[in-house]
Each structure stands twice: as structure tokens, then as C-alpha cells.
Amino acid sequence: MTDRLPGFSTLAVHAGAQPDPTTGARVTPIYQTTSFVFNDADHAASLFGLQAFGNIYTRIGNPTTAVLEERVAALEGGTAALAVASGHAAQVVVLQQLMMPGDEFIAARKLYGGSINQFTHAFKSFGWNVAWADPDDIASFERAVTPRTKAIFIESIANPAGSITDIEAIAEVARKAGVPLIVDNTLATPYLIRPIDHGADIVVHSLTKFLGGHGNSLGGIIVDGGTFDWSKGNKYPMLTEPRPEYHGIKIQETFGNFAFAIACRVLGLRDLGPAISPFNAFMILTGIETLPLRMQKHCENAKAVAEFLAGHSAVAAVNYAGLASDKYNKLARKYAPKGAGAVFTFSLRGGYDAGVNLVSNLKLFSHLANVGDTRSLVIHPASTTHSQLDDAAKVKSGAAPDVVRLSIGIEDKDDLIADLEQALSA
């Protein structure tokens, strides 16, 4: 009964979950059902009218998924969360609440290549315009602000090079502009960085990566920081205007400091439809229980591998913020003192061809387009994740043609180093 805040690892195991009332099952059951029966007509009407808490249909909410949502909200220090089918779906649902056709948002240029594509091309057909800014130049965010700006979007630890973003400085730009700061915290996870503590208003994740952690299930999540005042300036009608689809309910007025998460659920997920499978929610939930242990090992291994590569004669440069010599080391020590993550890039003296050779000679590292798996992964971004960018944009986003990206797993680090060593000398 005490107001004692448990530690991160305790929340990672317990938050949101409780023994099943009906069966006593201790592990959260997989409620693999599309729909839930109503008690009576009034109960059904109350649920549809958002007057009661409860389950209707798995596209809108599901008891297994709800445990995942509360758990990630607790780990991020947010007021509520909404899980969706993928990280990409999370981004669409978030921006749908904020943007009208003709509106703009500012995004950091260093992002996952898929996000760069989504923002540049897919969102264009919605009339959502992205303005790019350089996360290493805070003033470039200030310069990009216009009266149509509705949000700022950054990654905490940025793809592909694992660079660290100065969240507090960009949060200040967002505060002055009167718009929410959205942080994609996928590569850091809340174990390494909690963006809301640094001024972010909304956090999104691809749960597919370190949170799920085992490379077996897709998922995404939106965390509401409960920090943004949507009523200011009447810029966000989805939150403040009467909603005709709910007979005139005003979402912010009704739901207070978790209104954004509710808007994402009842206006975004309900109508756009990218629901996560309860089975995937269960798999990711199980993964999260060991998040602290895995992240410690991921970071320890990544640092050892980065140090090995930095000392290897075939390697031209290593970009890992956990190395004392790295340009982002100061920011890493401030924002991610427990470790700089496990995704980073390096370039080879032999250029593009040496990169391709390395990838094909590795025996333990898997060549695939994912990160944040228990297994160590390798990819050549210029020809894959960032291939749709032109050469100049590739360089700007940290995916130059000679760059190889690693996602370090939780194997024994000596084995990872031995594999790299044999592949570099093959």
C-alpha cells in the first residue's frame, strides 16, 4: 500500500499483469478472440460510447494486448500506451491525430530508412509534409518551424549509426513552437533512455526490436507522456473538437492526461485498423520480462565488438557512441549511461566491395534486415534498408556505400569477435 516506486526490472516483470481472475493463471493468457460478449444492451452501449472500461473487439483492444500496453507505459514513465501491428503503424496512427492535409512536421534526418521513406512518399499522399532537420544542428530544427508545424520527430539512438540525439535541446525547440516532441525509442528501449524524462511528449517503438527481443513477432507501440496541453492554440482538433463518430465527445476534456493514447485507440486504431495479434502481444510481453538482462548483455557485447573493430587494420572507422573517442560519447554518457545500445556502423578500408565480402564471409552473424534480436545481425544499409535514398541522402543519414551495420546479440562476445576476425581476414 506504500507509494514506493519499484525498480525498472520489477516493472518489466509485473506492470500491467495480474493472475487471471477466472482461472488463476499466473502468466498473462493469450486471449486469442476477435470479440467479447456484453453483459446486456446497456453495457454494450456504454462500451461503444466510451463510458465504461472494457473489451469490445480485438481491433480496438484486447486483454493480452492491454497488459503489454500498461507495461510499456510503466517502463517509459507514460500515462498510457496503445500497441499496434508494427512500428510503422504506430507512426501513422500518431500523426493521424496531429496532422490535417497541408500540415507539416519536422523530422530528424538520421532515421531508420523505412521511416524516411514513409515520411517522404507515403505521407505525401495524405497531404502531410515533412521538413528535414539535422539532429547534430539544433538550430536547423528552429529554422524548420512554420505556422503549419504540428510535431517534431526524432530517434533517441538513431539508425543506422547508433548516434545519440540531444533530446532535451530538441524538446526545448518543440516547447517553444508549441508542438509535441515524438521520440522513436526503439534502439534505446526505456532501459537505456526514457525520453519522457527528457521532455518528450510521445514515445513510439517498433516492439519488433529489443523490447520483444527475439526476432519472432512484429509489433509497435505509442506511449502518451501525459505532458502536452492539447487545448492550447486549438491546433489539434482531433483531441479538442467534438467527435461526430462519438456523438460529440471531446477526447481531451473526457480523458485528461491520457487523452492522446485514447485518441490513438478510438480514432486511429479503430478506423485505420492496424491491430496487433494477441499472440504477438504475448510473445513481446514475455520478451520484455528479460529486457534489463538482455540490454546489459547487448551493450556489453557491442562495446567489446566495437573496441575490437576500432583496433583492426582493415577497419577505416567505427561509429559507436559507447567508445570514448566517438563524437557522440558525451551525449551517450548523459542520456544512456548504462550503455550506448547495440546497433552501430563501421566502414572498411576496402570500401563497398570489402563490405559485401565481409557480409558473405560471416558465419555467426545473420545477414538480414532487422535489429534488436538475441542473434547478432549484419546488413549493408546502402544496398538494403537505405537503398531507396539517393547517394547524397545516404551519406547524410549515415548509410554511405562503404558502411556496414551491426546489431550485436547476446551470444558470447569472444565468438562474435572470432567470427568478425575470420571474415575480415578471409
Partner: protein
């Protein structure tokens, strides 16, 4: 009392302790937050009385509207005020004039009047401001977790299967209490600016 954030035990003791709640500003319009809260609290077994001079003659979920607190004609444990911050003081004054003043005065989400709160507290009345009893009940019982909301509570005990009209246990272990520190900070900043 620190009205920027409340210890869960404070909120819990209020929601466990009160039986009758007069809701000032209750609306019969079924998309208004006051209607949601009224209905929810009635379903959780509270004895609800709607107070709104604009709707006398009508009833809300079978409970007749009364025009003012003095017209309730019996004592109530809690007054839940669904009015803007600028309309709080007259309601508190009226509550203090009652033959038996309430034990609790609760100001809805978005409403805050520190002077009115101090006056009520000087008369021995517990005050909660800028909170919703429906949300707090849902949070402390973890019922709100269905909506992906961070209840800030934990429990390793098996909960009873909920049935209609049943009071839920609010005695879960609180973690941190109330809203998150980030949202509390934002609310405090907003309050200081206005």
C-alpha cells in the same frame, strides 16, 4: 495537502470511505464527462445525487435532479463539482453552510481553486482537485488497464471475477502514486502559467 499530486492512500481512503456523492453540474447529456462519471460511480454502488438547477424536473438514470445542495434534504459524504475553476468558490461556500457539511469536496479534471480548497480544508473537509473519481476508481482497481492506461499499481493476487454493480477492491500496491511525475510536472507548469 499537496494538491499537485496526491498519495494513492489519500484517494483510496476517500473512495473506500464515501457512500453518497452529490454531483454538482451533472448533465443528462450522455456524451458529457459528468454523465460518464455519474453513471460509472452509480454502477459501482455509490448513492448518486445529481445537482443542476437547469434540469430540475428531470432525472438522471432514475435519480431526480435537485437545484442546489441545500435541497438534497439529507447529508452527503462527498460533493463532486463539475464546474470550471471560476465557479468553485460559491459551491464550496454553499457546502460549508449545510447543516452537515460533506466529508470530501472533489473538483473535477481541469478544475482547481486553491483558495476554495484552503477554506474547505480549514473546516476539516478533505479536498481533491483536478482529478476524476471515475478515472481514479478505475486506476486503483486496475479496471482502467483495459484501456492501456498506466494504473501505477501492481498485484500478485488473483482478483475476483467482477460482476455488475460490484464494488472493486482498491487495495492494490501503489507504485509511485497518482499520475506520473512527468504529467504532474506538466500540470503544475500549466497551473502556474494560468
Amino acid at each position: 495537502m499537496n494538491h499537485d499530486n496526491y498519495d494513492d492512500n489519500y484517494i483510496r481512503s476517500i473512495l473506500n470511505g464515501v457512500k453518497s456523492i452529490a454531483m454538482v453540474g451533472a448533465s443528462p447529456v450522455n456524451v458529457r464527462p459528468s454523465y460518464f462519471a455519474f453513471k460509472y460511480l452509480a454502477q459501482r454502488g455509490y448513492d448518486m445525487i445529481p445537482v443542476n438547477p437547469g434540469h430540475v424536473g428531470k432525472s438522471l438514470l432514475g435519480k431526480p435532479f435537485v437545484a442546489s445542495l441545500s435541497e438534497i434534504g439529507r447529508s452527503v459524504d462527498m460533493i463532486d463539482i463539475f464546474r470550471n475553476s471560476s465557479h468553485i468558490m460559491p459551491v464550496v461556500d454553499e457546502a460549508l453552510e449545510l447543516p452537515t457539511p460533506p466529508k470530501v469536496i472533489w473538483l473535477q479534471l481541469g478544475a482547481r481553486d486553491d483558495a476554495a480548497a484552503a477554506k474547505a480544508e480549514a473546516a476539516g473537509i478533505k479536498v481533491v482537485m483536478n482529478r476524476c473519481p471515475k478515472i481514479e476508481y478505475g486506476r486503483l482497481s486496475s479496471e482502467i488497464s483495459w484501456m492501456g492506461v498506466n494504473s501505477r499499481t501492481l498485484s500478485s493476487k488473483r482478483a475476483p471475477v467482477p460482476t455488475q454493480g460490484m464494488r472493486l477492491s482498491l487495495n492494490r500496491t501503489s507504485v509511485g502514486g497518482g499520475a506520473t511525475s512527468a504529467s504532474d510536472r506538466a500540470a503544475k507548469n500549466k497551473n502556474e502559467l494560468t
